[in-house]
């Protein structure tokens, strides 16, 4: 009786210990194995992107881009995509990331805190728009939003929060709609929340909206756009201030060289939802964005 | 017959194997009869009590109450039987957070459907209230009717327990050492009250206080090791019988005049 009980106790504790180890072990083991295979070159280039959609899917999709950047810089590239926008800003400020894909507002935050260096952006990013969508018949204009539940994406998103909120106020939408809005955390999550009527309306990035309708993820007969914002400047690639300028140059050039005419470039451009070519960034163009953020109380 | 037991056996699985607490007990109790069961502790008195109030099912043998075989009854019929049997336990067993009046009202539970029980929770029916106040008056506790069960003294609690039986209006009353938790000074007055409760009803009491039992009950059953040792009128109980019942400490039997018993239960006759 006593023996079997103490055995049961021992077995239970060993199981606990094994599970605790399993949580710890395999990860370390894999890094050790990779290092042994010589995969881990010294000082990889650390790249990050704001999670505009599902981070794990973005990671998978970004493989050709990573390969291109590795070719261009001659260094290994480690891409990390955290769970929220703020983490990318934080990582760049802390010097844990060398190059990052920002939204307009996150770039403003990063340059304010750590002087991020703008590199390149898609030509469409210079005149970007947010789409206001709904699945309700009684929402036809901004005025109909009074008393309705509204969804933004991430609180730090330019096209998913800052600019839609800014324009809503400018257009005289009932301020309680903005005050009581909820945050889905990502553009595709906003679209699905609207489609499933968990909210009455929402605002999101036009590029993501196009992709979702093209891929059939959202039925355009049920969910429709009822308003589009005036243009504003948005996404860009930027580098940490301390990054070697030659490396930064190489990266910028790699993007600038992407050509929709070349078949080998087309998948990468599609992935980045770029219709045309990449262009250099004019940092001064972000001043209105900064002003809007201050007006919205999102930047101090 | 009020109670009729035939060859009742009840065994329990204990550490030392099966133990027969009752080992072939047969007993007939006529309606209106008063009977006391005597015996040392471990004789099976409490088991017998459980079998009589139908909460314990005998392992063997038949138990009849008012002619019906209890073990064959459906649960509904069993409940109907139970409400005809009033029980006074060793401890008063009141619900501590209810008032004396509500506790006495609980004698009616066997008569209630669930809907009635809910209604009684909100407002008892006038008839029930009348019964309760009459019973509380009979046990002299009307002035304490609003006191909580756990605010009453031990004697008061046992009086409420008796009022509860009065309210139940059973045809038979069972009492398991009803006074053992009480001060000796209270016992006589309480036995008087028990007499009130059992007026016109069969009364079966289980006791260890031989003197008291012989004084108050006309029929005496001696129970030892789960068997009936003797079953005689009180007047015929001999010291030898008691010696056999309590082997080590045979109590001396006092002569009890018939009259004293009659006094105690004066209201009965």
């Amino acid at each position: 009786m006593t023996v079997s009980r103490s055995r049961a106790v021992l077995a239970c504790c060993l199981l606990l210990a094994a599970l605790a180890w399993a949580a710890d072990g395999p990860l370390r083991l894999s890094t050790i194995l990779l290092a042994a295979l010589g995969w881990e070159a010294d000082a990889p280039l650390r790249v990050s992107m704001i999670p505009t959609t599902d981070p794990s899917r973005m990671l998978r999709d970004a493989e050709p881009l990573v390969a291109r950047l590795e070719k261009a810089t001659g260094r290994t590239v480690s891409l990390t995509i955290p769970q929220n926008y703020a983490a990318v800003v934080e990582a760049l400020v802390q010097g844990q990331v060398d190059v990052a894909h920002f939204g307009g507002f996150t770039f403003v935050q990063a340059s304010k805190r750590a002087g991020a260096v703008p590199l390149v952006q898609r030509d469409r990013d210079r005149e970007f728009h947010s789409k206001f969508i709904t699945a309700r018949d009684d929402v036809r204009s901004l005025g109909d939003l009074r008393g309705k539940r509204f969804a933004f994406g991430d609180v730090n998103s330019t096209s998913g929060h800052l600019m839609p909120a800014y324009f809503m106020r400018e257009q005289g939408v009932d301020p309680t709609v903005v005050d009581r809005a909820i945050y889905t955390g990502a553009h595709d999550a906003t679209a699905l929340a609207v489609a499933e009527r968990r909210v009455d309306a929402g605002a999101l990035d036009e590029a993501v909206w196009e992709r979702l309708t093209q891929e059939g993820k959202v039925d355009p007969t049920k969910v429709r756009v009822f308003w589009t914002t005036p243009p504003f400047v948005d996404y860009l690639w930027a580098a940490r201030k301390e990054l070697d300028p030659t490396v930064a140059r190489k990266i910028a050039d790699a993007f600038l060289a992407l050509d929709p005419g070349k078949p080998e470039d087309r998948p990468i451009l599609e992935l980045l939802s770029a219709r045309g070519r990449y262009v250099t960034v004019d940092a001064a163009a972000y001043a209105p964005l900064r002003e809007a953020a201050v007006r919205e109380g999102l930047l101090r | 017959m009020s109670f009729s037991l035939h060859g009742v056996r009840r065994s329990f699985d204990g550490r030392a194997g099966r133990v027969a607490a009752l080992d072939g007990v047969s007993l007939d109790v006529a309606p209106g009869e008063r009977l006391v069961v005597l015996g040392p502790s471990g004789a099976g008195k409490t088991t017998l009590f459980g079998v009589l109030n139908t909460t314990l099912r005998p392992t063997e043998g038949t138990v009849r109450f008012e002619g019906r075989d209890v073990s064959r009854l459906s649960q509904r019929a069993l409940r109907a039987t139970r409400r005809r049997i009033g029980t006074v336990f060793q401890q008063p067993r009141l619900v501590p957070s209810l008032t004396a009046r509500q506790n006495a009202l609980l004698g009616r539970v066997g008569h209630w459907s669930f809907a009635n029980a809910v209604r009684a929770w909100v407002r008892p029916s006038p008839e029930d209230l009348e019964r309760v106040d009459a019973a509380l008056g009979a046990v002299g506790l009307l002035h304490r009717a609003a006191a909580r069960g756990d605010e009453l003294s031990g004697g008061e609690q046992q009086r409420v327990a008796i009022a509860r039986v009065l309210v139940q209006e059973p045809t038979a009353v069972l009492a398991d050492e009803p006074f053992s938790s009480l001060d000796p000074s209270l016992r006589e007055s309480m036995s008087e009250l028990l007499g009130v409760a059992a007026a016109g009803r069969t009364l079966v009491a289980v006791m260890h206080d031989v003197d008291f039992a012989l004084r108050h009950f006309p029929r005496v059953v001696g129970l030892a090791a789960g068997r009936v040792l003797f079953d005689v009128p009180a007047a015929q109980v001999t010291p030898e019988m008691l010696a056999a019942l309590y082997p080590r400490e045979a109590p001396e039997r006092r002569q009890v005049p018939e009259r004293e018993w009659a006094d105690a239960f004066a209201c009965v006759r």
Binding site: A20, W21, V155 | N53, R57
Partner: protein
């Protein structure tokens, strides 16, 4: 005459014992106002006012939290739920994902174990410092002079620290640590460590305060110093109690660990939150099954571990001795060390942890007390209160419906009971099993997961929060209430049975009046806990302060974070004070203290109270 019947008295409480338990308010029920004592009348008046206030609050909370039962049966809700349920089968059992689940489960366990161990480590010094008998002026072996004043100040500080540790919900701790040390299990372990240290430290201080003083007095008499007093006379007596309470909380800690992930603190919660956000319902159902398994395993493990600590009173089972005990001790140590490693509290390459926490803490000051921000907090604050109130009410209503069905005494025929078994018995058993298992499921799914599921049905907003709190509360309270009914003292119940009462009738008149104080006390505990949770459900779209907090963190406005945290802290302390007042005027002294829940259930009671000791 010797009383042979004495042996048969069993556990029947004597009249003396029951009188001691009474509230001593004569004439409270069926009160005759003219005769009631003035104190009793004042109490009656207080109760009436409290009832009125509580009723008004609940009515307001229903109105203010957009409760719309219609939304539950609207076509969209059914469609959304249908899509969710269809999407959940079959569970994702691909090898790759099972690997993810295994790591998540391991991490959750590691967070729970490391958090509890950390809590015990923190609780010992804080608990000693917080013991009044050691540091209050004029206390046992108190010194004199400036040194004693300093120590007394430290004592007060320790008590305040423990209070804050307890009052800030563990989820909020997790959120703060996620910001301070980054996403992942480390934040979870730290959050649990701090939040449970608040409880364990208090328990340790209470234990030290209650320790048999003779040994201590002897030491003082022989001129012992305070340090030796602590080391030799008090701590050895109190430590086993602390350890066994710590093991108690382990099960609870593992439960919490699975929830903390919803705010990014690692473990299975984080995976569920992620899969849910990405609409990967098949993954959600796999994770859900893993979570259920984890909860069951946690219950079993903590039962086993408790038996190793000699608390027979607690487990009702004989304790482990000799070799078994040593093995358990050893394995516990190993598990703790491994958990510390797995949660990166030990042996992590990345140092500067304390520096980062310090930097974050510095950014919290000074709090943003600008009027405009405070005004912006008013609405979410009210919403938080409303969600907690309406959620608790919903939970109580559901629990009241399910608890009687889940009570074994009421629904199940005792083996060997007289009377023929009937069809009704079978039906009752069926109902009973159904009710019990529904309660188990309601309980096993944490509130925050319920929020995500309810959002699918009724959309974002406070109503989703109300539903989520209500469903989980129903699971916990339903079981506690069923047990309170089952464990009501049997003697009066047997009387009613013997008088021919049917099970529903004796439950109403025998078991319910006796279980009432415990039922009320569990309800209050749950309210206190729900307020802590409702402050955070907004994080996931359930309305309330949580959303403000999340946005402030995301925007890096840490002064607003600290204002919100202070507000939640104040709200929690206020609500605890209010429910203490209610407790005092409604419950008998025996049920007053929150830690007097029956020992067997303390793990559940902890859950009910969310460790709100």
């Amino acid at each position: 005459m010797p009383s042979p019947a004495c042996a048969e008295e069993r556990t029947t409480p004597g009249p003396a014992a029951s009188t001691r338990r009474s509230t001593n308010i004569p004439g409270l029920r069926e009160a005759e106002p003219g005769r009631a004592a003035p104190a009793a009348r004042a109490l009656l008046r207080r109760r009436r006012v409290q009832l009125l206030l509580v009723g008004a609050f609940l009515a307001w909370s229903i109105a203010a939290s957009d409760v719309s039962p219609g939304a539950l049966v609207a076509p969209e809700a059914l469609h959304g739920l249908g899509r969710l349920l269809r999407g959940m089968v079959p569970p994702d059992v691909s090898l790759g994902f099972l690997g993810v689940v295994a790591v998540a489960v391991g991490r959750t366990l590691a967070i729970g174990i490391a958090g509890t161990a950390l809590a015990v480590l923190l609780a010992v010094p804080l608990g000693i410092l917080a013991t009044p008998r050691l540091f209050r002026p004029g206390a046992l072996a108190a010194g004199r002079g400036p040194w004693a004043v300093v120590l007394f100040a430290a004592h007060l500080a320790a008590r305040a620290t423990l209070r804050v540790f307890r009052a800030v919900p563990d989820l909020l701790w997790a959120l703060l640590f996620v910001v301070a040390v980054g996403l992942g299990p480390r934040a979870g372990a730290l959050a649990l460590g701090v939040s449970y240290a608040g409880v364990l430290g208090r328990v340790f201080a209470d234990l030290l305060e209650d320790v048999e003083p003779s040994a201590a007095e002897a030491l003082v008499a022989s001129g012992g110093r305070r340090a030796s007093l602590v080391l030799f006379a008090l701590v050895p007596q109190a430590l086993p109690g602390l350890v066994s309470y710590g093991l108690y909380s382990l099960e609870c800690a593992i439960r919490s660990a699975s929830v903390l992930g919803f705010v990014g603190a690692g473990g299975i919660g984080q995976e569920i939150q992620l899969s849910m956000r990405l609409f990967e319902y098949r993954q959600v159902s796999t994770l859900l099954l893993a979570l259920l398994g984890l909860m069951l395993a946690g219950e079993a493990a903590s039962r086993l571990l408790r038996r190793a600590t000699r608390s027979v009173r607690v487990t009702g089972r004989p304790p482990l001795t000799g070799r078994g005990r040593k093995l358990v001790t050893l394995a516990t140590l190993v598990a703790v060390v491994l958990s510390f490693r797995a949660t990166e509290l030990l042996g992590s390459a990345d140092d500067g942890l304390l520096a980062r926490m310090g930097r974050f803490a510095a950014q919290l000051f000074p709090p943003d007390l600008s009027l405009s921000f405070l005004a912006a907090l008013r609405e979410p604050l009210l919403q938080t209160l409303a969600v907690a109130g309406a959620g608790t009410l919903l939970g109580m209503v559901l629990a009241a419906a399910l608890a009687p069905l889940a009570s074994a005494g009421l629904m199940l025929r005792r083996p060997g009971a007289p009377g023929r078994p009937g069809v009704l018995d079978l039906l009752a058993r069926l109902l009973h099993v159904t009710a019990r298992s529904s309660l188990a499921v309601l309980r096993a799914i944490p509130e925050l997961l319920w929020v995500l599921l309810c959002i699918v049905a009724v959309g974002f907003g406070p109503f989703a929060g109300v539903l989520a709190l209500g469903l989980h509360t129903a699971g916990v309270l339903g079981r506690l209430w069923a047990e309170a009914l089952d464990e009501a003292p049997a003697d009066p119940v047997e009387v009613l049975e013997a008088a021919g009462a049917s099970a529903p009738v004796w439950s109403l008149w025998g078991a319910w009046p006796q279980a009432r104080p415990l039922v009320a006390s569990y309800g209050l505990l749950r309210w206190e806990f729900n307020l802590r949770v409702s402050a955070l459900v907004g994080f996931l779209g359930g309305g309330g302060l949580g959303l403000r907090l999340y946005n402030a963190i995301q925007l890096g406005f840490y002064d607003q974070v600290s204002t919100t945290v202070l507000l939640i802290l104040g709200l929690v302390m206020l609500s605890d004070a209010v429910s203490d007042a209610v407790r005092r005027s409604w419950l008998a002294p025996a049920t007053l203290r929150r830690d007097t829940a029956r020992p067997v259930d303390s793990s559940l009671a902890l859950q009910a109270g969310g460790l709100a000791a």
